[in-house]
């Protein structure tokens, strides 16, 4: 399967015929409007200053954002190395300044930043608007004039980091600030309203200006929740308002570890970790906006060198700890409720809760405002557990890494060091320092949690899949917990023999010639093999082998698990009984008293077993039954050998040459192998 290709016909182009299978038509105007951009509370006095290329830019960003959500990224992409994750998006968009957008430098700048941000492949074809909508069609003007022009344009998502930025600008520095918010989820509204009110109340200077942007779209356009292009829309809105206000900077506030985006798990590759405020993304925004503005228009992240915990401290130090619980970080908005605004499972929730606890701000948000407690509640298998385990493990590793080890682990730093200005070496040093501080914060929270819950940890009364049990299990001796060679949670004995074949748990373990032991999934063929290896050179009839392995449990592998004998097992017993009679007769004829005695004992045991099992009646030998048993046993052995061939070819070579199968089965090695069992 190749990457998903989609044609996106926008605005006036939406009605065009396209010779393609999968066309997305986005209409921002009636009739049949399915995308509605609205900007609230813009001052009428500023509106007239919006240049047409920025009006185009806002529409382009809206279409890109909606198409991003309307086009799925496919599955996990395991078998094709994430090829489906990266989509081919071909846009046709009407614009007011077609000559400008067709300029190579502008077109390349737009394509470059979008393709890095969302990791998709973009082609954007521009056509001249026949009748461009005026921008006031998208604007709900505020009741009153702003009365002043803001000094700062801050992108305010209502999350913890952007709250820190707002506090810094409005409460600490008293700047005249415009907070630009993209309202992506209706569930946020009340929480956002509360935050705004609190910021208004605590403003050291003028009350901040709140600009809200919303995009309503048909439900049929909601397929992909990753929304990698959301920060483009955000930045575009910020840049447009900066342009309206004659400012030359747009400010993001995002903590450094999320912004720099080093992978938290080894499966996280490329934009599977967000590039929302990656330095290369911001540099791309800045380049594009400056080209459009015809003057430098900077896009910066003022919290690049701060951890999230440090941001929380900043909020508390400003006396704004009470705002923390009204900020919202969760990306699983579908799980959100008033009582539990955070799922506790997504990377954002995990990051947030660690930061709050590390900063000592636990009193400012209820632990039960998370769907799953960070430290002591059970985590489901899958993303929730993997995310938390990876997060903590990465922190543990980083905390123990030298500078050299850090850069030998995170080659992704190569993308960053030259995007930040200044010396690449110095940037690298700061990145290392940032990640070490973050790792210390995480480990501090884990250590404090272990101390606070020491008695529950010791008593093992916490759920097994909670974080504190994942990092420390008192039932496991320290040498087991560290896992030795990483081959087993239970260490193999130091004096393990070079050759063994044994049952371990539900599966089997095979070691041959001192090689690394191989674990084999449960299968009956291994039980037959063990029986053969235990008695080299002894010829077993297939029935002997069947009974020897299954014994009283013959029903289980063959039958229905009911009370009665399984038909095949019945036949196997009958056949073995008949064989024993024949062999006994032969031994008596040969006057082999020892053999006769042994066979007699076996016959008596078998009859006793049959009696206990309620077998009645006379069984007759049937060739087709014997064939069935032979096929069953020999096929099981051959399947077992085929698996061994995959993982331990030398053992396979040996066993294949030493075992002969048929109605009789025998293991006859040319050299004696000292098997242990």
């Amino acid at each position: 399967m190749t990457s998903k290709t989609r044609y996106v016909m926008c605005g006036e182009a939406a009605g065009d015929q396209v010779d393609a299978a999968d066309v997305l038509r986005l209409r921002n105007l009636e009739p049949n409007r399915n995308v509605n951009l609205h900007i609230d509370d813009i001052s009428r006095s500023l509106y007239r200053d919006v240049p047409p290329q920025f009006l185009d830019l806002v529409e382009i960003a809206t279409f890109v954002y909606v198409a991003d959500q309307a086009t799925t990224r496919g599955g996990a992409g395991v078998d094709n190395m994430g090829e489906e994750w990266r989509r081919q998006l071909h846009f046709e968009i009407p614009v007011r300044c077609v000559d400008l957008w067709q300029q190579s430098e502008v077109a390349t700048a737009l394509q470059t930043v979008l393709s890095f941000l969302s990791e998709d492949c973009y082609t954007l074809k521009f056509r001249r608007y026949n009748s461009p909508p005026t921008f006031d069609r998208f604007i709900n003007f505020g009741d009153s004039d702003w009365g002043f022009k803001p000094e700062r344009i801050v992108l305010f998502s209502g999350g913890l980091d952007s709250l820190g930025g707002a506090v810094q600008e409005i409460v600490v520095e008293g700047r005249a600030t415009a907070l630009v918010t993209h309202q992506s989820c209706a569930k946020f509204i009340n929480r956002l309203r509360m935050l705004r009110q609190m910021l208004d109340d605590r403003a050291k200077g003028p009350k901040p200006l709140h600009v809200t942007v919303g995009i309503n779209k048909d439900e049929s356009l909601n397929h992909e929740y990753t929304q990698r292009s959301r920060s483009f829309l955000y930045a575009v809105l910020g840049a447009t308002i900066a342009q309206m206000c004659g400012l030359d900077e747009v400010r993001f506030y995002e903590n450094g570890t999320v912004s720099l985006n080093l992978p938290v798990s080894r499966q996280v590759v490329g934009a599977k970790a967000t590039r929302t405020t990656h330095p290369k993304t911001l540099a791309g925004f800045q380049h594009l906006f400056s080209l459009l503005a015809g003057r430098p228009l900077a896009v910066v992240n003022k919290f690049l060198w701060k951890t999230k915990g440090e941001i929380v401290k900043l909020i508390m130090d400003a006396g704004c700890g009470g705002m923390i619980e009204w900020s919202t970080s969760c990306t699983h908005t579908w799980e959100m409720s008033n009582a539990q605004p955070h799922c506790g499972k997504c990377s954002q929730c995990i990051d947030r809760r660690f930061a709050v606890l590390a900063a000592g701000a636990g009193q400012f948000e209820r632990a039960d405002s998370y769907g799953v407690d960070l430290l002591v509640q059970a985590r489901d298998e899958g993303e929730s557990r993997t995310m938390l385990a990876s997060y903590v493990e990465t922190a543990q590793q980083v905390a123990a890494m030298s500078e050299m080890e850090f850069f030998m682990r995170f080659g992704e730093v190569g993308r960053i060091v030259r995007q930040l200005g200044g010396s690449a070496d110095e940037n690298a040093r700061r990145i290392y320092d940032l990640y070490r501080r973050h790792a210390d914060e995480v480990l501090k929270v884990v250590d404090s949690g272990l101390q606070a819950h020491a008695s529950q940890v010791r008593a093992r009364s916490l759920p097994e899949s909670c974080l504190l049990r994942l990092v420390h299990d008192p039932s496991v001796p320290p040498e087991w917990a560290s896992g030795g060679t990483g081959t087993m949670s239970v260490p193999t004995e130091v004096s393990d023999p070079d050759y063994f074949f044994r049952q371990r748990g539900e599966g089997w373990q095979l070691r041959f010639a001192g090689h690394e032991p191989q674990w084999l999934k449960p299968a009956i063929g291994y039980a037959y093999l063990r029986e053969l290896l235990q008695f080299p050179n002894r010829t077993f009839s297939v029935c002997q082998l069947l009974v020897a392995v299954h014994g009283e449990k013959a029903i289980l592998p063959l039958g229905d698990g009911g009370k009665d004998f399984d038909a095949t097992a019945k036949k196997a017993y009958a056949i073995r009984l008949q064989e024993l009679d024949e062999e006994l007769e032969e031994a008596q004829e040969m006057n082999d008293i020892g053999r006769a005695e042994k066979l007699g004992t076996e016959r008596a045991q078998l009859l006793e077993h049959i009696r206990k099992s309620g077998f009645r009646g006379t069984a007759k030998r049937s060739d087709s039954d014997l064939n069935n048993i032979r096929n069953s046993v020999c096929n099981a052995i051959n399947r077992a050998l085929a698996t061994i061939k995959k993982y331990e070819p030398s053992a396979f070579d040996h066993l294949k040459s030493a075992i002969s199968t048929g109605f009789s089965v025998v293991y006859q090695p040319t050299e004696s192998i000292p098997w242990s069992f």
Partner: protein, 257 residues
């Protein structure tokens, strides 16, 4: 405003075998073997993947450029946008940019591309810091001298081995990390996260061991190609990469040792 997306291994038989091996207690070597078999299609694509070729080609150019009188100019000539007297992180950044610029607009980019790019940067850091004993404070002259020293059969073999070992580890962990955390806990495969981390280390060690197969072959190929052709082209690198990945896959599939 950012988040990370994780995934699971598919519920197909080949991948569930990997899951059951991890759950059951299989060692790093056997898990690697099973992953390689399950991911065979992806790895076959990898052997001539443009990212792999580009990353490896750039690695072949670094020692050669370092032997030229003007190192910066020699790097720039090869498409690496470095400043004059580049430090180690300047070179790492330039390598990353050069690989990115080879595939603008993500057309054809896959996760392997990302992994090859990161592996190249990491092995440059390792090669230089291992020889200079430090990361920060290493002068541009030391970086140049160290890179020039990697143009011998032995040193380039080691350099190439680091690259393929790291890349293979990344590829294996790309898959394995989707399931290992599900097997941590009391009575499970990994008693604690520490045990899981040990398993990850064992997997990395196994990849490094397996990459020995590339070492001697790489050093001799580098020396011979440079001598006979007066330089290594991307086509040469492609040919080498194809064989090297085949050797790595065969080595990892060879099973227990």
């Amino acid at each position: 405003m950012g988040h990370t997306r994780l995934g699971d291994l598919p519920r197909t038989r080949k991948w569930q075998e990997v899951v059951s091996l991890i759950a059951g207690g299989a060692g790093a070597c056997q898990v690697a073997n099973a992953v390689i078999r399950a991911a065979e299609r992806g790895l076959n694509l990898a052997s001539e993947h443009a990212a792999l070729v580009e990353a490896f080609w750039i690695l072949t150019q670094l020692p050669v450029a370092a032997r030229e009188p003007d190192f910066s100019a020699a790097l720039r000539h090869r498409g690496l946008p470095v400043p004059d007297n580049p430090g180690l992180m300047d070179i790492v950044g330039a390598v990353s940019e050069a690989i990115d610029s080879r595939l603008p607009n993500n057309n054809g980019r896959t996760d392997l591309w990302e992994m090859a790019q990161a592996a190249a940067c990491e092995c440059i850091v390792e090669a230089v810091t291992k020889r200079t004993g430090g990361l920060f404070g290493v002068s541009a002259d030391d970086v140049k001298r160290t890179m020039a020293s990697m143009a011998t059969v032995k040193q380039f073999g080691d350099f190439a081995r680091q690259f393929y070992g790291r890349l293979t580890d990344k590829v294996l962990q790309y898959y394995v990390s989707r399931t290992t955390a599900n097997h941590v806990g009391n009575g499970m495969r990994f008693a604690t996260l520490a045990a899981k981390a040990e398993f990850d280390k064992a997997l990395a060690t196994h990849c490094r061991e397996a990459s020995k197969i590339v070492e001697a072959f790489a050093g001799e190929w580098f020396s011979k190609t440079n001598w006979e052709k007066k330089g290594i082209s991307r086509d040469d690198a492609k040919g080498f990469s194809h064989v090297a990945m085949q050797k790595m896959v065969a080595e990892l599939k060879a099973g227990a040792k």
